[in-house]
């Protein structure tokens, strides 16, 4: 039976490699045909800003990688509403249309449903 797995990505892109490592882990996990989801919260919501241009700092553009997630069958994509609000980010600025914006109560429910959490 497929396990419910949720990866939680809580770090800003580029300053450290944590955000990129989370994405790599997510894409790797997608190979195993489990019920996989990802939640962006805290500074992790900055990964979703559409206007990123990381060419000058010679790093891969996170905003360019994120839209492939549905192609890897990662369709449960969640963004923490309060984290967006605290950072002044609106839904129109997000690079992923498929992302569901959910509040803290919904995050609590989501976590309670999982068999395994991957924390980044």
């Amino acid at each position: 039976m497929a396990k419910k797995i949720l990866l939680i990505s809580r770090h800003a892109p580029y300053g450290t490699s944590t955000a990129k490592e989370a994405l790599d882990a997510l894409l790797a996990a997608s190979v195993y045909d489990q019920d996989l989801g990802v939640l962006f919260m805290d500074d992790g919501v900055f990964q979703l800003l559409a206007m990123q241009d990381s060419a000058a700092i010679e790093q891969k553009n996170i905003a360019a990688i994120l839209p492939v997630l549905p192609l890897y069958d990662v369709e449960n994509i969640y963004v923490h509403w309060e984290s967006m609000q605290q950072r002044g980010i609106t839904t129109t600025e997000l690079v992923l249309n498929a992302a569901q914006v959910i509040d803290s109560d919904a995050v609590s429910c989501l976590l309670a449903q999982q068999d395994q959490l991957l924390s980044f």
Binding site: P13, Y14, D42, D43, F46, Q52, I57, A63, G88
Partner: protein
């Protein structure tokens, strides 16, 4: 006799920018780089105090490459000056000391 303060951490996860702002005086400069550029946004807990400093004459810089990488060009606090690595070197020479808040 002034100090250049550099901050490279997000103000949402670290209190480095708040510590810097508490210490900073008019003649000083603040340079935001790496994840520190999130501190240059209009929508941070420090935005009010940073605006105050800018009004009082403190120069606040943000590294343009890091701002662009994170997609923040349209979200910056008015008065924040975009800068590059060459200017970063000049600034560190123009100021007497450099304090890194990391």
């Amino acid at each position: 006799m002034s100090t250049l303060h550099t901050v490279n951490k997000s103000p949402f996860t670290h209190n480095t920018l708040a510590s810097c702002i508490a210490i900073c005086v008019e003649a000083d400069g603040i340079l935001l780089l790496e994840d520190g550029v999130f501190g240059a946004m209009k929508t941070t807990p420090c935005a009010f105090h940073l605006s105050d400093l800018i009004r009082q004459g403190t120069k606040v810089y943000a590294l343009e490459d890091d701002v662009k990488a994170r997609g923040l060009l349209e979200k910056l606090l008015p008065g924040v000056l975009l800068t590059n690595y060459t200017r970063f070197v000049q600034l560190s020479i123009e100021h007497r000391c450099v304090q890194s808040w990391y």
